[in-house]
Point group: C2
Chain length 346, copies 2
Amino acid sequence: MNAPVSIKDVAAHAGVSLGTVSNVLNRPEIVAQSTRDRVYEAIKMLGFVRNESARQLRAGRSRTIGLVVLDVANPFFTDMARGVEDEASMSGLSVMLCNSDEQDGREARHLELLEQHRVQGILITPVREADERLARLQERGTPVVLVDSRSASGHQCSVSVDDVLGGDLAVSHLLKAGHERLAFVGGPASLRQVADRCEGASRAMARAGRSPTDLQVLATAALTVAGGRTAGGQIAEMPPAERPTAAFCANDLVALGLLQEMTRRKISVPDELAIVGYDDIEFAGAAAVPLSSVRQPRQDLGRMAARLLMEETYDSDGHQHRQVVFQPELEVRQSSGGPVDSDRLG
Amino acid sequence: MNAPVSIKDVAAHAGVSLGTVSNVLNRPEIVAQSTRDRVYEAIKMLGFVRNESARQLRAGRSRTIGLVVLDVANPFFTDMARGVEDEASMSGLSVMLCNSDEQDGREARHLELLEQHRVQGILITPVREADERLARLQERGTPVVLVDSRSASGHQCSVSVDDVLGGDLAVSHLLKAGHERLAFVGGPASLRQVADRCEGASRAMARAGRSPTDLQVLATAALTVAGGRTAGGQIAEMPPAERPTAAFCANDLVALGLLQEMTRRKISVPDELAIVGYDDIEFAGAAAVPLSSVRQPRQDLGRMAARLLMEETYDSDGHQHRQVVFQPELEVRQSSGGPVDSDRLG
DNA sequence: AGCCACATTTGACACGTTCCAATACTCGCG
DNA sequence: CGCGAGTATTGGAACGTGTCAAATGTGGCT
């Protein structure tokens, strides 16, 4: 309704030049007290609000960083995002959170928009590995940091968790508990997280001297509760003699879906099917049967990624790309035969 | 690393004027085939990427809408956000998702940033009701739509769900099941959602001829799993004779926390304590004891809010503010004594 | 009075786009 | 051959900032 108020209007109203208003805004210490007060008053009176677009245009870069995740509905990623935001806001940056939904097309669209916005940099958990798009983004001047993903080329920074180890931990635990026939549930296999966790599972099998065929792989369309339920149906319909007695799921959403389907079909967890999930989201401990899960330092992942990005931004010359790898930890609960009454809280 | 490439560089490289390149970008149909091709080629060769800041500056408004929610870690809000994004992207708008974390200060900071970005409009689930900040935002020209909240003044559009009815449904159900001593668990009471759901609970009590003192109100610091656990501790420590036999929680996170604490302390749900939650998030059906919950049309809430905003934006003259109210539905599951084996999936 | 140092303020330009009025060119028709 | 009607292209003026060299004012000192 009101005509937009610009720095020029403020200047006119305060009876100073345009440059002075700008100085008040950006380097108040160099302008005389009395002038400063007059300008502040004009700002308040007119309801002046800085125009971020103009600032960005002038500066050449925005004061925003982009964060592209696989699934905002997954608490793992919102926790990670929280870490990013905390770190970013300490440097006065804001975060643009984008959801690729594990879809290549959506991811591409978001990257395009973020580049057009000239964001400081992009933190991304990519849908596919070794993406040329990311390489081109970097070449054109937008730094990219991989989160919960590892840079194969070494051409960018990355922060990840050793998912192979995580898979190994989970399956070793199940083997030690005496399980013979195991299943790995998760997909799509094109996601690095899925592939690595599966590889870790295989590694544990091999080390225990088991045949790889003892590990059945059940693919899901996505890492969601619905995907877990579908897989649960498949498991339930196997003849009991062939049915795995333990399942390691690529994340907690899948594990919860699986658990839910087992409960519905009256297949006891953990007696008939033990389950281990991944991520240890807050809901895991509150599940039908408290879920064993591989815990990742979610917030730290985000914080570190943001920090690496800023390192790269502020020291773009001498910057060496770094690959930070965190270690996962296994949290054993009831779903894999852990203590029935745990006093520990997830 | 490379110098940023602008429309001017493209023009030079294609041997045309700057205005022509702009035309190719915005109204390709009015420029001759051959010229167009030449320009496209130059764009590709130079790796030109539009500068959104400059476009926005010129246009006066950005092509983004802001969404401020109380808690991104709550699946209710991410589902809602999904609805907003779907609707927005159909009109070529992107969404900036902000988390106020139920904190006034964070909310203020986000609003400030969004206004500086000159967003098309702001969808917000406010921390406090009747916020003068929002009124001022509107006056200065940024439309505001309340989501999961109701406009008291009628000065803005709003989309909400009848939370009083929701509370009524939940408590009526519990009363019908024969419970005598009830508890309402949730807070802070300053949140409209909390106050309304509690009011609905009281209404149901009154209608059933119960004394208001039969409804004990347990306040939580926030609507989180942790808050629910704390409240659970309080309930557990009451002498069994005074302890409520049923609890209605202000949302599912609180309910899950409460449930988790009861399980830990070996207090049976629903036998010793029946629980009803609110929102019917995906995890509710997968909980330790499948959670009865009041369902809200989460995605529709978001979609409708986005639609109202666009209505206001594109027809700013003749626009009349609207208050859309959806109806909630009660989903009865095992936590409040519903059927033990439900074939329905949450 | 003249000079200098210092504090404050000014004015103009650049950032990359979009938009519009003005120009150049082409063709058909009288 | 000239004219009108398109069609295709051009040039330049904004949009709101930040920056910086230059201008202005102030006061002290010789």
